[in-house]
Symmetry: C2
Subunit: 593 residues, 2 copies
C-alpha cells in the first residue's frame, strides 16, 4: 500500500506538477468521449481525477469498472485546469489530477441514498439504519469536527486554569430523586443493581471534599425518560466544579471559557460580562426561563389597565387573582386574518390558555371585536403601555400568571420565527439568575428542588428555611443561548446541617436521606470547602454552533425517540443463560412475546 | 469570601513581604509557648502558618479552636524563616506565613486515618469507604495529576495528527463473544436489553467506513468478569483507529505518541523505533506474551541435550513430545538452599509443572541430586549452552511446552524480583508481533480469536484459512511495558468475505453471524477502507508512570474485587416499582434474602 500524500480537499495550485497519492471514495463518475472523470471524496472535500489513455491505458480500463462509493487508491499528477473548466464551487476547482495508477481497494453496492448534504428526500430512519453512510455526508463530518474543536477549546481553557480531568464511575448507585435511572443488575451481588449516573454531581462534590480544588470532565450522563425530539437517553455534559469560589467568580470563569470557545470555533468575540436577567424578569417579560433575546416582543402585564373594564374575561381574570398579559406584534395587523388569529388561539390552548384576545392598532383607535369594551382612555393607556403604532397587533391572554406566561412565551417564539424577527447569525448568551430554591408541586403537595437538592440557598435567605421556604432564592445560574438552556450551575451546600434541612424540606425522612445520601453527609463532617460549579450540555452547544436543528446530528450513533439504535438494533434480546446468571427473569407479559 | 492569592505549596522566597490569602486544610497544629503553628495543606503542598499575639490576638484565639482537617481561610504576610527553623523537607521550608486573619470555613471530626502517604497501617476497605479522605493524600493527587497530564499529551498528539475525538455509545448491543457483558434492561422495549460496551471496536470500525479516517476516544469500557487484583469492572482505554495505514505505519505512529507521553510526563526520551519481538520468541525465551525485558535469565530449551540422558524425567518428557527448559540463575547457587528450591518447586506447581529440577555450577562440574545422570560431556554441553559460570544455579522444568514456558516464565519473574535484578527506574517498551490468529481450545474443540474476530490475517497466510487455519499469523501487535501489557491492536478485516470466513472458523453459524454482526457485514458492502488501530489501557499506563502497584490507585472511585463501591454502597437494592417498570423480577433465591 502506498502512503497518501494529500487529503483530496487540501490540494491547491501550489502542488501543480507534483506526483501525489490519494485515497478516497467515488462521489461521481462521468464518462466523456473516451475519458473518465471521477470526483474523489474524503473527509476534507472533493477533487476531480481524470483518466485518459494518454496518462495510462490500464488506469482508464480499471476506472471503467468503478462505481459510486468505491474506495480508490490513485497516483497521479496535479495539473491546472483549463480556464473554461474551473469549478468555483469546490475548493480544489482550479486543479485536477491526471491519473497514472488506480487500485480499487473496496467496491460498493449502490447505496440506499446519495451521499449528499441534501437529505430532505431520505427518511431519517433509513439514514440511522445506515449511519455509516449518513456520516459520510460532508455536513456531518463538519459537525463532528466542530464537536472535536469545541471540546479541545474547553479542555485547553480548563487545563490552563488548573482544572483536573477526572473520570467518575458509570456503574454507580441508584438515586430515585430526579429522572428515572437506567439500572444494571449485579451478577456478584444477587438482587442488587448499579445505576448509570444522571450526572457526576455527588462525585464531583466529593472531589472537592478531597481537596482536588478544580475538577472537570466531559461526562456521559444517562436518563431513562420518555424521549422528546431533543432528548437522548445518553448525553454528554461539560461538568465543572471548583472550591473556594463565589457565584460571581464561577460565572466569570464560565463565561471566559465560553468566550474562548466562540473565538476559536466561530471567530466571534463575545462581550464580557455576559448580560444577566433575573428568573422573575425572564418569566414575566419572556414567558420563559430560557428567553431568546435575539428579538423583543416582550410580554407586558396590563392587568391594572383592564381590571375594571367591561370585558368580563379580562376583569374577571384579574379579580380572581389572575393576570392579563399582552404582546405587541409590531406591524402585523395586516398579516394576520381573523382565521389566522383563531389558529394562534388554538396554539396557545396547548399551553392551557382558554383563549387569545386581540386588538389591531389603527390611526387613533383600536379595532376588533373586543375594542368596544375599552373607552378611549383605556385604549390610549393600552396603546401607550404597549408602545403601539398604527399597524400593530395586540394579543392577550387572561389567565393564571403561570399559564399566561407559558402561553404568550410560546406564542412569542412562534411569531418571532414566522415573522422572521430572529437574526439567525446572532449568538445571544444570557445568564438567568436569582432562581427560586424550591418549586411547589400542588398535586403532590410537596416541594421539589428547582435546581437540585445540593444547591445553596442565598445566604440572606437562610433564616427563611424554617419559616417561608418558598420565598428562598438559590445561588444558582443558568446559561442560555438563543432560547436554549445550555446548562446551569450553583454554589453547593457544604454544611451538613443545611443539607439535612434541605432533604427534610424535600420530603425525605431522616432514614431515607441517610440511606441515599449518607456518604455525602458523612463526607461533609470531615472538612468541606465551599464549592460550586456548572454543567453545560455539550450536544446542544455543538448543535447551536454547527447550525444544526437536531441533537441527533451531533451524536455519532444516536438513538431514536424510542431509545433504539437502528444500526446495531439495540436494545435486543439476550439469552436465558445471561439472565440466569443475573438471577433475573422477565415477567409473564414479556415472556409471552 | 476573599479570593485566594496562592496555593500553599507554591509560595516561594520571591513573595517575602507580600500579603497573601490562603485556603486549605489543617495538616497539623502545634502549640508552642503562646504561639500556634499550623501546617496548612492544599493540593499543591504544605506551608507553615504562625499565629502570634503580636500579629493578631483574635487570629490566635480562633486558631486555638482549630483541629486537623479543618478548612481555613487565612490572610497573612510571607516572612523568611530564621535559618535555624528552615525545613528542607518541604518546598516552602524557607518561608512561613504570619497570620493576621483566620476564618474557619469548615470543621472536621477526627478522621478515621491520618492524611499521609504512609498508609500501610490503614486497611484498604477503610480507605475506600472514606475515599474522599484517601484522595487527600498527596501521592493520590499526584497520581491523578499524572493521569490528567498523560491524557493531555495523548489528546494533543492525536489532535496534531488529524485524529478526531468521537464519542461512541455506552448503551449498546450485547455481543456474547468475548467477556461477559453488563446488561441494561430497556423500559420501552419490554424484555430487551442494552449492553455496556467491552470496547468501542465495532463503532470505531464503522467510523472508518464513514470516512472519518482518524478516530480516537478516551473510552470507558466494561467487563463483568470475576475480578482479579488488577481488574476493574469499568476501565478506560485509549482507543485509536485509522484508515489507509499499514501495520508498520500504525505502529510507528503509536510509538511516536508513546514517546511524547514519556517526554512530557517523565522527561524520558524513548529511542525509536521501539524494540520488537515475535510472539514465538517471547513465549520461548521469556515464557510470557508480555516479557519483562528489564533483565535476562532467559528460558533455554535443552531438550536436545537431555533427550538421551539417564534421567528419565527429562528423557521421558522429551520422548513423549514435551520439552525440558532451563533458566540459569546467575550467582545464585549459594543463595538458595534445598529447602528454598523445594519452595520454588511448589511455586511452579501453581502453573501445572510437576516438579523443578536443579543443578548448581561449581568449578568444573555440576552438583546436585540429578548431577549423576549427566556424564561430563552432557554437563559441559549444558554448561556452555546455559552460559554458566561457577556459582550459577540451573532450574529445569520438563513438561509440555506450554506448561514449561508458563512455569519458568513465572519463576523467572519471581526470581528477578527476589534477587533485585530489575532496575525499577527503567521503562522498557517492547512490541510483541507475529501473533497467531487463532487459539485452539482443546476442551471445547473450537478456535478462539487470539486477538479478536476482526483481526486481519497476514496477507501471505490468507490461503491457509481453509487448509490450516491454526498456522495463520495475525496482523496484530501488542505493546508491552516492563512486563505489563499496555494494550494492542491490529489491522482489521475490511472485506466481507474474509470476515464471514472468520466467523465460520470461530464456530458462528451464518445466522448467528448475521444476527450479531450483520450491520458490520452490511457496512463492508458499501466501500470500506483498509483500516486498523490500537487500544491501550489508560489505567495501567498511569499506574506504571506514577509508580503505583495497584490499578485502584489510578481510578478516583474504584470498585473492590467484588465489584462494590464501598463509598456509595453500589450496587444496592432498588424498589419494586423500578423493577416493575422494567418488567423484571428477581428469581426466588434472591427474593428470600
Amino acid at each position: 500500500m502506498f502512503g497518501r500524500t494529500y487529503y483530496c480537499g487540501e490540494i491547491t495550485e501550489k502542488s501543480i506538477g507534483e506526483n501525489i497519492i490519494l485515497k478516497g471514495w467515488v462521489q461521481k463518475r462521468r464518462d466523456l468521449g473516451g475519458l473518465i472523470f471521477i470526483d474523489l471524496r474524503d473527509r476534507s472535500g472533493i477533487v476531480q481525477v481524470v483518466f485518459n489513455p494518454d496518462f495510462s491505458e490500464e488506469a482508464l480500463r480499471i476506472a471503467e469498472g468503478v462505481r459510486s462509493e468505491f474506495v480508490l487508491d490513485i497516483s497521479g499528477t496535479v495539473v491546472e485546469r483549463d480556464s473554461g473548466t474551473v469549478n468555483p464551487n469546490i475548493k480544489t476547482g482550479k486543479i485536477e489530477i491526471h491519473a497514472e495508477r488506480i487500485e480499487i481497494l473496496s467496491s460498493s453496492k449502490t447505496p440506499p441514498f446519495m451521499i449528499s448534504d441534501q437529505t430532505d428526500e431520505v427518511a431519517e430512519d433509513v439514514r440511522l439504519k445506515h449511519r455509516y453512510l449518513d456520516l459520510r455526508r460532508p455536513a456531518m463530518f463538519d459537525t463532528f469536527k466542530m464537536r472535536h474543536n469545541v471540546t479541545k477549546s474547553i479542555r485547553n481553557f480548563l487545563d490552563d486554569h488548573g482544572f483536573l480531568d477526572v473520570e467518575t464511575p458509570i456503574l454507580t448507585k441508584s438515586t430515585p430523586e430526579g429522572a428515572r435511572d437506567y439500572l444494571v443488575p449485579s451478577r456478584v451481588h444477587e438482587g442488587q443493581f448499579y445505576a448509570l449516573p444522571q450526572s457526576p454531581q455527588l462525585f464531583k462534590q466529593l472531589l472537592m471534599v478531597s481537596g482536588f480544588d478544580r475538577y472537570y470532565q466531559i461526562a456521559r450522563c444517562f436518563r431513562d425518560e420518555d424521549l422528546r425530539a431533543d432528548r437522548q437517553p445518553e448525553f454528554t455534559q461539560i461538568d465543572i466544579e471548583m472550591s473556594f469560589m463565589s457565584q460571581e467568580e464561577i460565572m466569570a470563569l464560565s463565561e471566559q471559557m465560553m468566550a474562548k470557545i466562540m473565538r476559536e470555533t466561530k471567530g466571534i468575540e463575545l462581550n464580557l460580562p455576559l448580560p444577566r436577567m433575573s428568573y422573575d424578569e425572564a418569566m414575566n417579560s419572556y414567558g420563559s426561563d430560557k428567553p431568546d433575546v435575539r428579538f423583543d416582543m416582550l410580554l407586558t402585564d396590563v392587568s391594572s389597565l383592564v381590571r375594571d373594564s367591561d370585558f368580563k374575561v379580562f376583569s374577571g381574570a384579574v379579580q380572581s387573582g389572575g393576570v392579563v398579559k399582552a404582546i405587541n406584534v409590531k406591524a402585523a395587523a395586516d398579516k394576520y386574518s381573523r382565521k389566522d388569529i383563531d389558529a394562534l388561539g388554538n396554539y396557545v390552548g396547548n399551553f392551557g390558555a382558554k383563549g387569545l384576545a386581540w386588538l389591531k392598532v389603527e390611526e387613533g383607535e383600536l379595532k376588533g371585536p373586543i375594542a368596544k369594551f375599552f373607552n378611549s382612555e383605556a385604549q390610549s393607556s393600552l396603546t401607550s403601555t404597549l408602545h403601539a403604532e398604527a399597524g400593530d397587533l395586540f394579543l392577550f391572554v387572561a389567565d393564571k400568571k403561570e399559564v399566561a406566561n407559558d402561553a404568550l412565551g410560546a406564542l412569542r417564539l412562534k411569531l418571532g420565527k414566522e415573522l422572521q424577527l430572529i437574526d439567525e447569525s446572532k449568538y445571544n448568551f444570557l445568564w438567568v439568575v436569582d432562581w427560586p430554591l424550591l418549586e411547589y408541586d400542588e398535586e403532590e403537595g410537596r416541594y421539589y428542588a428547582a435546581h437540585h437538592p445540593f444547591t445553596m440557598p442565598a445566604r440572606e435567605d437562610l433564616d427563611l428555611i424554617e419559616t417561608n421556604p418558598a420565598a428562598m432564592k438559590a445561588q444558582a445560574y443558568d446559561l442560555v443561548l438563543n432560547g436554549y438552556e445550555l446548562g446551569g450551575g450553583s454554589v453547593r451546600i457544604f454544611e451538613k446541617e443545611i443539607q439535612e434541612k434541605m432533604f427534610t424540606l424535600l420530603g425525605f425522612s431522616k432514614e431515607e436521606a441517610e440511606e441515599q445520601f449518607g456518604f455525602l453527609l458523612q463526607a461533609f463532617e470531615y472538612g468541606t470547602p465551599p464549592h460550586g460549579g456548572i454543567a453545560l450540555g455539550l450536544d446542544r452547544l455543538v448543535m447551536l454552533l454547527a447550525g444544526r436543528s437536531n441533537l441527533r446530528d451531533t451524536i455519532a450513533f444516536p438513538k431514536t425517540a424510542s431509545a433504539s439504535d437502528l444500526l446495531t438494533e439495540a436494545p435486543g434480546e439476550v439469552s436465558k443463560d445471561q439472565l440466569d446468571e443475573l438471577n433475573l427473569q422477565l415477567k409473564e407479559k414479556a415472556l409471552k412475546k
